[in-house]
């Protein structure tokens, strides 16, 4: 028995003996065995950047060093940690995980370990050892690597090694490099997206019975019969969104190329990311997870609802755009008013009984302003992307963009329920509704001033009484005679309007529209 410790793992060579525990061809006495490691559960790679701290009956030791009967030889920052204690008691391991890595959620610690139970083995081996000095565990499966965070130590307990801490979220450094590409970056509903999956074994290992997994996102559906593996048609096992291809042995430098197609299903929207990776026979990940993203755009025909319509001069106040009966159809190029081929344009024939109103502005709640064309027509392309059960759409005419004296004869704003893929029509009628013409001359006013005469004021009171319920527009005209002062005429007109508004104030039930003008009598 000798106290020489060739590999520096704290276990004398005499105890370790000449055997080769992990089969990597290095004798145990020369094979460094740490107390434990941080390793990636997907790949078995040791992960640097972690830290341990050990808490005993007297206190805590964190970082390399000695205190409270605890000595930390390696603190885990290179992926391996090593510590020993010199006093009996219960010791707890506190872990700081490497940046970017998370504690495993599938491999949980096994609670407290009474080291006495490991006897007679010395050293007590808890998990798998590092294979050679390659920075990777020989066997990184869950079953081979139980781990503990609490240790009950008594005098005479054995050394213990390979208490390996599993990690998730490691960047893959697996031996197989997966890559994936899609033949387009955007797609619409119903379109087929072709994916190409490439796997290359860059390691020196052979992965036995490994199989390719492809995980489609919601909204992409595998097209049956479209998959080929290295050019040979092969149908994967489809389990929901997961496609599993037939297992193959993957020797070093082997390639696998898989082509498959998927269709964009109804309701898909936004970025769809398709993942692929290689699994070995036990279901462990042996490649990186490659992804390809396709952005699904709304499709105008199926997802949108368009709104068309017309703002028309509702001459008969019925709220509908009436056409003149018996007109020839409107497919006549001659009404193009700009002239063609150098010929003057024929005179435009008014086609509509109720013509459209040009330049009327409509607004949506999103601030989209639509201005009608010369014939009062408008359209809102893809006004909404309605949900499955339809969505409401609101449109409002800005009344101030109507000609003076016009009032809407249809509801404003108007709300319609839109269906995806269907066109909706919203017509708005406006008319010079219930116009009362009030004509004034100088005689209606006190001479030389702009005070309305008593007879006019009396007539205004009676008028207001009669129009107080039915919406009416007043057209107030001053017929100006020869030699009359225009400024005085304007002042009188304004005074007349003021008189009407004063009479209206407490009587009327709606906002009274008054248009004023001055006309010259010949």
């Amino acid at each position: 028995m000798t106290d020489v410790d060739s590999d520096g793992d704290g276990i004398p060579d005499g105890i370790e003996g000449p055997g080769d525990r992990d089969g990597d061809g290095i004798a145990n006495a020369l094979d460094y065995d740490p107390t434990g490691t941080f390793y990636c559960e997907d790949t078995g790679q040791l992960r640097s950047g972690g830290r341990i701290a050990v808490t005993g009956p007297l206190g805590t030791q964190s970082g390399v060093g000695s205190s409270n009967h605890i000595t930390i030889v390696r603190d885990g920052s290179d992926g391996r940690f090593q510590f020993y204690v010199t006093q009996a008691g219960t010791y707890t391991l506190a872990l700081t995980y490497p940046a970017g890595a998370q504690p495993s959620t599938s491999r949980l610690n096994s609670g407290a370990l009474d080291l006495t139970t490991l006897l007679p083995a010395d050293p007590g081996v808890i998990g798998a050892g590092e294979f050679g000095a390659k920075g990777k565990l020989g066997d990184f499966s869950a079953g081979a690597n139980p781990f503990y965070l609490t240790f009950v130590v008594e005098a005479g307990d054995p050394h213990f090694i390979n208490n390996n801490i599993p990690l998730m979220g490691c960047p893959s450094s697996a031996g197989v490099v997966a890559s994936k590409s899609a033949d387009r970056s955007t797609a619409v509903f119903g379109e087929t997206v072709n994916f190409t999956l490439n796997f290359e074994n860059t390691s020196a290992l052979t992965y036995m019975a490994a199989h390719v997994v492809d995980l489609l996102p919601d909204g992409l559906v595998y097209t049956p019969g479209s998959a080929t593996v290295d050019g040979v048609a092969q149908e994967p096992v489809v389990t929901g969104k997961r496609l599993d291809f037939t297992a193959v042995d993957m020797a070093p430098t082997d390639h696998i190329t898989i082509h498959l197609s998927a269709r964009v299903a109804a309701g898909a929207a936004g970025a769809l990311t398709n993942l692929t990776w290689l699994e070995d026979a036990t279901g462990a990940l042996v490649s990186n997870r490659a992804s390809a993203t396709v952005r699904v755009e709304p499709e105008a025909v199926f997802d949108c609802s368009d709104v068309i319509g017309k703002v028309f001069d509702d001459l008969n106040h019925n709220g509908y755009p009436d056409a003149r009966v018996g007109l020839p159809p409107l497919t006549d190029d001659d009404v193009f008013t700009g002239g063609k081929y150098g010929n003057p344009a024929p005179k435009a024939v008014p086609r509509d009984y109720e013509p459209g109103l040009a330049g009327v502005r409509l607004a949506t709640v999103n601030g989209l302003l639509i201005t009608t064309d010369a014939f009062g027509r408008f359209h809102v392309p893809c006004a909404a992307l309605p949900k499955t059960g339809g969505s409401n759409f609101i449109l409002k005419v800005d009344p101030r963009s109507l000609p003076l004296g016009y009032q809407l004869t249809t509801e404003n704003p108007r709300v319609m329920r839109l269906t995806a893929g269907k066109v909706a029509k919203m017509n708005f009628g406006a008319a010079l509704a219930h116009v009362m013409d009030i004509n004034l001359t100088a005689k209606a006013f006190v001479q030389g001033t702009d005070h309305p005469g008593d007879a006019f004021l009396q007539a205004v009171r009676e008028l207001v009484d009669r129009i107080k319920v039915a919406p009416t527009v007043l057209r107030l005209s001053y017929l100006i005679g020869q030699g009359e002062d225009v400024d005085l005429a304007n002042a009188r007109l304004k005074a007349a309007e003021t008189a009407i508004r004063d009479a209206w104030r407490w009587v009327g039930s709606y906002e009274l529209g008054i248009a004023r003008d001055v006309r010259r009598v010949k």
Binding site: T337, G389, L402, P403, L404, H434, K443, E462, L463, D517
Partner: protein, 656 residues
């Protein structure tokens, strides 16, 4: 609803008659009449008849629209006729009420030197004799406070004119606060070519006998007579433009449902949506535009993530031209509240504004540090009411903080002699492009002159295909050939295109901040400070700079600028053949400084009798200096001198 109206109309007609109003019916000579168009209700029957006749005499169908919220100022200068010596220019402006005087400024296209000015009245035309040279014209109008709006430079060698009301807005600089209402007079049914006088203008009806004219008028009452030659005044409505008015549309949309059949029978849902759009102006001169849309979602989520991006983003990316439907009308669409989020607010007053939503960065003024990207976030612009004699705000500040949604693309095209240029990217964000013609020294790469192009007049762009079509061919060299008309090397002309595009996959992270404060200490001296930060995936690109501008005469100035940049730099690409073969210029990373000095002196400003000018520049840029325009890979020092003097009619010196 309309049926109800019809019955009330009939009730009105039957309930009110001549005979039920004896007190008024007897008063024949009252001086007024009230009628409903067909029947006299009160007053003087003869008067009503007279007025009827007046109305009947107007064959035209006239409409007057008063719109206090649809104000869009237009300023343009049209070239009606042109030859080498003489040009006829037409002013087009729809807000003459704010303008006290206007002038056409003739500029030398190569140097930007002001050659002469000529007064032009609003919407009038003038004929100008042109001096020799390659000239451009700028139309500038002043308001009573000395502020001015001006157009981008307009080439004088080709005719471009549009009928009234069909012109475009070519304003490149807008400082006159125009508020009020747009009064539009339109008519149909006139004799073709009839002469119409209205809103202080005379115009002719088109071949179909229709006309339309719009003017922006200040708040208050205005008489709008419409007169047709040979027919007299047809109507003279008095319109009132209110000082304050609002337009609002909103919806509260709640949907409750329960599944009656099938897989998830008995499941209930409660969806809601709150949305509004409002636009208005206050008596204090603020113009407010705002909208919000929670989107249709579960009620408890309605007000969550109110600042989140992109609920309607997919809609805005849809191009109606890409879809199958053809609508067959000429209506126009405009997004008044562009935002990538759920909320939009814009409040403006006299050139100052606050915007939450999508906006175009307005960091201009300095040559090294500029930012004209289209961004989503918060923008504030302040312009002090106090002004210099040149109409500039004494203190101006621009700040923005934004979350870019798109990636910027920047490309340079050497003029090919053609007018079509293919951008490297397709699916350009609509309205995000900034096109500039640059004249560069081909040896040193120094930008000599930049001219911003105006959409519609100078170019057309197809956003989906990424094709720019200029309205005139762009030659790569000032004048081709063996003979060099200028001493030294001839500047090369490039088209610089900056735009935003949506990356097809992945999201853009990071924020962009920036700001500029500039102040005119005197009427001649301007100081400015600019700073900007662009966070990208790799690192922050930061830039800081200060600049000074001093005018000492009409065409004489000194400019100094110092800037420092740090970060991974900006990439750009360039093409010599209009975009068929594109080479990508790698971005320059690191830290670098740039210093710039530039002066131009008009000999006349020095009191010399000789005509001509002298200019000089010096620039030093260290390796790693990276701005949108410059990528410096090695330390550079440039300087140059130019003198162009004409000592007599026959003798001139030119040195460069």
């Amino acid at each position: 609803m309309s049926d109800r109206r019809n019955t009330t109309l009939i009730g009105l007609l039957t309930g009110v008659s001549f005979f039920t109003l004896p007190s008024l019916a007897t008063a024949q000579d009252t001086g007024f009449s009230i009628s409903d168009g067909t029947r006299l209700i009160a007053g003087d029957a003869r008067l009503a008849e007279l007025a009827q006749v007046q109305v009947a005499r107007t064959p035209a169908d006239l409409h007057v629209t008063v719109d206090g919220l649809g104000v869009s100022p237009r300023l343009d200068l049209e070239v009606v006729a042109a030859n080498d010596q003489r040009v006829v220019l037409q002013s087009r402006i729809n807000y003459p009420a704010w303008v006290v005087r206007g002038e056409v400024r003739l500029l030398d296209q190569a140097t930007g030197r002001l050659i002469s000015t000529a007064a032009i009245a609003s919407n009038a035309s003038i004929a100008l004799d042109l001096p020799a040279g390659d000239l451009a014209a700028v139309y500038r109008v002043y308001d009573s406070a000395g502020r001015f709006d001006e157009t981008a430079p307009i080439a004088l060698d080709r005719v471009h004119a549009a009928p009234e009301e069909q012109g475009i807005d070519a304003a490149a600089r807008r400082r006159i606060p125009v508020s009020g209402g747009a009064v539009t007079v339109s008519g149909t049914g006139l004799a073709p070519g009839a002469v119409v006088e209205t809103l202080g203008e005379t115009l002719r009806a088109d071949s179909a006998g229709a006309f339309v004219l719009q003017r922006i008028l200040p708040p208050g009452d205005h008489a709008v007579p419409v007169q047709v030659a040979g027919q007299g005044v047809l109507t003279q409505p008095i319109v009132t433009i209110p000082k304050a008015e609002w337009f609002t549309v909103g919806i509260v949309d709640l949907t409750f449902g329960e599944t009656l059949k099938g897989f998830d029978k008995g499941a209930t849902f409660t969806n809601g949506r709150l949305a509004y759009y409002t636009k208005g102006k206050t008596a204090g001169g603020w113009l407010i535009t705002s909208s919000a849309d929670t989107g249709e979602t579960e009620i408890r989520d309605l007000l969550r993530d109110f600042d989140r991006k992109d609920p309607q983003g997919v809609l805005s990316r849809l191009d109606p031209d890409m879809a199958y439907p053809v609508y067959g009308d000429d209506s126009t669409l405009e997004n008044d509240a562009p935002t990538n989020g759920k909320f939009y607010l814009r409040a403006e007053q006299d050139g100052s504004k606050l915007v939450w939503g999508n906006f175009k960065g307005e960091l201009t003024g300095a040559e090294y540090l500029r930012n004209e990207r289209t961004l989503y976030g918060l923008q504030g612009v302040y312009r002090s009411p106090a002004q210099t004699s040149g109409g500039e705000a004494r203190l101006a500040a621009t700040l923005y903080a934004a979350q870019p949604d798109n990636l910027p693309g920047r490309e340079f095209f050497l003029g090919t002699g053609g007018s079509v240029y293919f951008l490297k990217r397709q699916d350009i964000s609509i309205g995000s492009e900034t096109l500039t013609i640059e004249r560069r020294d081909p040896v040193t790469g120094r930008v000599i002159e930049q001219r911003r192009l105006v959409a519609g007049r100078d170019y057309r762009i197809n956003y989906i295909q990424g094709v720019v079509t200029l309205s005139a061919p762009l030659s790569g060299f000032g004048s081709g050939g063996v003979v060099q008309p200028e001493a030294g090397s001839t500047p090369e002309t490039r088209l610089a295109a900056q735009y935003e595009y949506t990356p097809t996959a992945g999201e853009v992270d990071g924020y962009a901040y920036g700001g500029r404060v500039e102040t005119w200490l005197t009427d001649q001296l301007r100081l400015g400070v600019t700073g900007m930060v662009d966070q990208t995936d790799i690192a922050d690109q930061t830039g800081m700079g200060a600049d000074l501008h001093y005018d000492f005469g009409k065409n004489s100035f000194v400019e100094l600028e110092a800037a420092k940049t740090r970060g991974p730099g900006f990439g750009s690409s360039s093409s010599d053949d209009g975009g068929l073969i594109v080479s990508t210029d790698p971005s320059v990373s690191g830290t670098g400084q740039g210093y710039r000095f530039k002066t131009s002196v008009d000999l006349a400003d020095l009191g010399l009798t000789a005509k001509g000018s002298a200019s000089a520049y010096a620039e030093r840029r260290s390796a790693g200096f990276s701005t949108l325009d410059y990528q410096t890979t090695a330390d550079e020092t440039l300087w140059g001198l130019a003198l162009d003097a004409k000592v007599s009619d026959r003798v001139g010196y030119k040195l460069a």
